[in-house]
Amino acid sequence: MKHAKTATQNACKLCNPLGACLAFRGIENCVPFLHGSQGCATYIRRYLISHYKEPIDIASSNFHEESAVFGGSHNLQVGLKNVTAQYKPEVIGIATTCLSETIGDDVPMILREYTKTYRNGTPMPIMIHASTPSYQGSHIDGFHAAVRATVVTLAEKGERQNLVNMFPNMVSPADLRYLKEIFTDFRLPCMLLPDYSQTMDGGPWGEYHRIPPGGTPASAIANAGKATASIEFTSTLAASKSAAGYLEEAFGVPRHQLSLPIGIKESDKFFDLLETLTEQPRPEKYEDERRRLVDAYADGHKYVFEKKVILYGEEDLVVAMTAFLREIGMMPVLCASGGKSGQLKQRLIELIPDLEEQGIKVREGVDFMDIEDEAKILKPDFLIGNSKGYTMSRKNNIPLLRIGFPIHDRFGGQRAHHIGYRGTQELFDRIVNTVIEQRQNASSIGYTYM
C-alpha cells in the first residue's frame, strides 16, 4: 500500500556542516569550528570517525539558552579565543549550524569585531566562514560552500603561474592521493582543495597532534587566483556556488567543469584535459592503466551485462557512476539522490539521451524508504551506494556494493579508489566479484572456477 509521506524516513543525506567540516580538514593547520550547539559537532565527529577512523576535532561555540536569546556573538568570540589558545591553528574554518543561522548571527561582523578586540600585535589565525544552514541543501552543499569560502577568503591576485587548481569534490583520501600522483607525473603544479588525504587517513602518532599533519597550506591556496586553469569535478554545481566559478569571475582563471572521472570515457576526458593544459602526452603509466582496464572490461563483461542496478548518493556521484555503468553494459534502473539541485535528471539525459525509453528512473530528494519502495518494484540485481543502504539490502536480499561516504560497516572506506582508470578498475573488479560470489553461493554444485 502506498502511504502519504511527509516525514523523511531513513534519510539518504546528511546535514550541511558535516560537509563543511570535512572540507576544512583538507586545509593545513586548520580547525573546523561549528557555530551553534555542541551536539551537532559531537554527532558530526562521531559520524566522520566511524568512516575515517581518525581522531577528528571539531570545536563548537557551545550555545546555551542565553546565546539563543541574545545571539551567539559572545560565544563565538570566546570560542575562537579558546580554540586559538589550545590548538594554535593557522586557519579556523567556521561553519554555521541551523541554530546560529536561524538566530541570524552576522558572523562576518562578529569576526571583524573579534579581530579588532584581540589582535594586539599577535598574529591571528585566518578565519574562513561558510554559511551552512541545513534547512537548505545537504552535506554536499556544505562541502562546496566551505571550499568556495576558503578560496574567496584566501585567493589573491597576481601574475599568472604555471599552476592548476584542482577541486576534486567529496572523494576518498585514496582518490586524492591518486590525483596528486597524476599531477606529479604530468609535472604540473597543482593546488588541490580540499586535500584531506593525510588528515583523514594518516599514520600513527608518537605524540598527540592537536591538528593532524597534512592538508593544503593557506599560502598555496592564496595562489589560486594566479593559476592558469581550474578543474572541478562536478556535474551539478552552479558557478555561483563553486570555487572555480568564483576564481573565473574574480581573477579570470578559466573554469573546466568535468564530471567525476569514473569509467573510461570520463577518465579520458580528464586526461585529455591534462594533456591540453600541459601540451604533452599522458605518461605511459596511465596508458598502461587504461589498457589494463580495457582488458579487464573484456574479461569481465559477461558477468555484468544488463544487470539491473539501483544507484544512490550525492548527485555528482550518481551521474558519474551512471556513465560508468552504461559503458560496461549495466542497467541503472533507478538513479536516486537525497540531494535536490534540480539538475540530476537533466545531467543524466545529457549522458543518456534516451533515458526515458530505456526505463531509467531518476529521483531527487529521496530517502531510503522511497528507494526501498522502488526496489520492491524494480527488483534490481544490485544496490550501489554508501553503507546506509545496508538495512534495505538485508531486508530485501539485494547485494550492496559500498562506495562513497559513509561506509560504516566495512573496513577501509577511506582507502577505496573511485576515480580515474585506477578507481574504475577497482570498482569494476568489485562489481564482477560481487556477481561471482552471488552465483557461487547460489550454485548447488559449488564450482571452484567461476
Binding site: 516525514a7 555542541q38 561555540s61 537548505q136
Partner: protein, 453 residues
C-alpha cells in the same frame, strides 16, 4: 613532547590525586566551554539514549535532518520483537518551515507515520531549531493523540537548553506520563523494574534471567527491549533497581514520590558490583530468605564458571595500566574494580557527566597519581594517556581513534557496543576484549614503542 596546556577555565575540572592534596571540589555539572572540543553531546542525545530502545513506539525527530540522520540505528539496543526504534524519522525542516513554523509538517508526519506503522505510542523530540521557532509541539501531540488514540509524547530536548542530563530528565518526564496508565493486575509482590538498562547486545536479557532465577518478577525494563504496555504497568513493581546513576535516577525519584516505590542504585559491570546488585535486591525482601539463598546460588554458580577463565587474562594483564573515560561516573567505579580484578590499575578516570559526590567517591577509590577529569577533550585525554603511559583506553567511538593513533589498546564501553559487557558473562567478554586489544602484537610498531624507524 611539547607541553599541552589545559584549557583556561578547565583547571577546576581536572584533578590529580597526590598525597596530601585536598580535592578542592572538582567543578562539574557545568556546561562545556565555548571553543572546546567536548566529547559530550547534547540534551537531545540524552533523551535519545533513554527512550531509543522502546521498540514498539515511533521516534520522530522534529527539526532539520542532521539530528535524525546522525542517530539512525546507532545504538546496539536490541529488541526481541518489533524494531520500530531502528527506523529514523525526521520532519526534515526546510527553510520555509523555519520561517512559517513546522507544526503542520509535524502534524502530518505524525498522522501518516502512525497510520503506516501502527505503533503503540509516538515520541516527538524537539531539537534546537524547534526551540527557536517556537512550535507548540505539546498542542500538536495532544491533537494527534486525540485523533489516533495512542499516547503521543513530546520530549523537550532542544540541544542548547542544558546538558545531556537534562535530556535524560526530559525523557523520564515522558515515561512518567505513561507509567500508571496500565493495569497492575497479577503482578507479584516480589517484583522489580530494571531502570537504566538499555539491552545493548542483549544485556537486559542476561540481567533479567539472574533475577528470575532468584524468584523475582521483572515487571518492566526501562527501557531495554522496551514495550509501551510494560512501561504503563511499571508502577506495579515493589522496587526500582537503577543502573548507572546518570540517566534514570530522576525517574526512580519521581516514581518513589508518586507511587511510593523505593529504589536502589546498582551496576552490572564486574563480578563485585554484579553480585552486589543481586544481593541488594534480595535484601529488599527480608521476609523471603529463599531469595537471598537463590541469589547466593546464582553468584556462586556464575563465579565458579567465570573465575578460572579470568585467570589467563589476569596473568597476562597484571601490571598494565588503563585510562577510563566514559559517560557516567557510576560506570567508572565499576570499571575500576573490574580492571583491578584482572590485575590492571587505573591511571586516568573521568566521565562526561559525573556530579560532585561521584568525583568525591572516585577520588577515594583511586590510587595515588590517578588523574581525575570531568568533561574532558581529546588533547587533554591524550596528554594524560601518554604521560601516564596507559596501555588501554576505555571509552566510546569518539575516543577510539585517539587510543589507536597513540598506539594503545581500546575497549568500547559505550552505547554502540555489540558484545554484552554486563553480568558475569559480560565480565568474561570484557576481560577478553581488554586482553585481545592490550596484548596484540601490533603495538610493537607504534612510535611510542620505538616503532618509528
Amino acid at each position: 613532547m611539547e607541553h599541552i596546556g589545559i584549557l583556561e577555565g578547565r583547571e577546576k575540572q581536572v584533578f590529580e590525586k597526590k598525597i596530601g592534596a585536598e580535592l578542592s571540589d572538582i567543578a562539574c555539572e557545568t556546561s562545556s566551554l565555548s571553543g572546546s572540543v567536548s566529547q559530550r553531546a547534547c540534551v537531545f542525545c540524552g533523551s535519545r539514549v533513554v527512550l531509543y530502545p522502546v521498540a514498539d513506539a515511533i521516534h520522530i525527530v522534529h527539526g532539520p535532518i542532521g539530528c535524525a540522520a546522525y542517530t539512525w540505528d546507532i545504538r546496539g539496543a536490541v529488541s526481541s520483537g518489533p524494531e520500530l526504534h531502528r527506523l529514523s524519522f525526521s520532519t526534515d525542516l526546510q527553510e520555509m518551515d523555519v520561517i512559517y513554523g513546522g507544526e503542520k509538517k509535524l502534524y502530518l508526519s505524525l498522522i501518516e507515520l502512525i497510520e503506516q506503522y501502527k505503533p503503540k505510542a509516538a515520541f516527538i523530540y524537539s531539537t534546537c531549531i524547534v526551540g527557536l521557532i517556537g512550535d507548540d509541539i505539546d498542542a500538536v501531540c495532544k491533537k494527534v493523540a486525540a485523533e489516533t488514540g495512542i499516547p503521543v509524547l513530546p520530549v523537550h530536548s532542544e540541544g542548547f537548553k542544558g546538558t545531556k542530563k537534562d535530556g535524560y530528565k526530559a525523557a523520564c518526564f515522558a515515561l512518567m506520563k505513561l507509567i500508571g496508565t496500565g493495569s497492575t493486575e497479577g503482578i507479584s509482590k516480589l517484583s522489580i523494574n530494571i531502570l537504566g538498562e538499555f539491552n545493548l547486545a542483549g544485556e537486559a536479557w542476561i540481567i533479567r534471567k539472574y533475577y528470575e532465577r532468584m524468584g523475582i518478577e521483572v515487571v518492566s525494563t526501562l527501557t531495554g527491549d522496551g514495550r509501551i504496555d510494560a512501561v504503563k504497568r511499571a508502577h506495579g513493581a515493589s522496587l526500582n533497581v537503577v543502573q548507572c546513576s546518570g540517566s534514570m535516577t530522576s525517574l526512580a525519584k519521581d516514581m518513589e514520590e508518586k507511587y511510593g516505590i523505593p529504589y536502589i542504585r546498582v551496576s552490572y559491570f564486574g563480578i563485585e558490583d554484579m553480585s552486589k546488585s543481586l544481593y541488594d535486591v534480595a535484601l529488599h525482601f527480608p521476609d523471603h530468605p529463599e531469595i537471598m539463598e537463590a541469589a547466593k546460588q546464582v553468584v556462586s554458580e556464575e563465579v565458579k564458571k567465570l573465575y578460572p577463565e579470568l585467570q589467563k587474562f589476569k596473568k597476562a594483564l597484571t601490571g598494565k595500566k588503563a585510562a577510563i573515560y566514559v559517560g557516567g561516573a557510576f560506570k567508572t567505579f565499576s570499571l575500576i574494580k573490574a580492571l583491578r580484578s584482572i590485575g590492571m590499575s587505573v591511571v586516568l578516570a573521568g566521565s562526561q557527566t559525573g556530579n560532585k559526590d561521584d568525583y568525591k567517591r572516585l577520588k577515594e577509590m583511586c590510587d595515588e597519581g590517578t588523574v581525575i577529569v570531568d568533561d574532558s577533550n581529546p588533547v587533554e585525554l591524550s596528554k594524560f594517556i601518554l604521560e601516564k603511559e596507559a596501555d588501554l583506553l576505555i571509552g566510546g567511538v569518539k575516543e577510539r581513534p585517539i587510543a589507536f593513533k597513540l598506539g594503545i589498546g581500546f575497549c568500547d564501553h559505550n552505547h554502540e557496543r555489540k558484545i554484552p559487557l554486563a553480568g558475569f558473562v559480560g565480565m568474561y567478554n570484557f576481560a577478553l576484549e581488554v586482553y585481545q586489544s592490550v596484548m596484540s602484537p601490533v603495538w610493537q610498531f607504534a612510535p611510542r614503542k620505538g616503532g618509528n624507524r
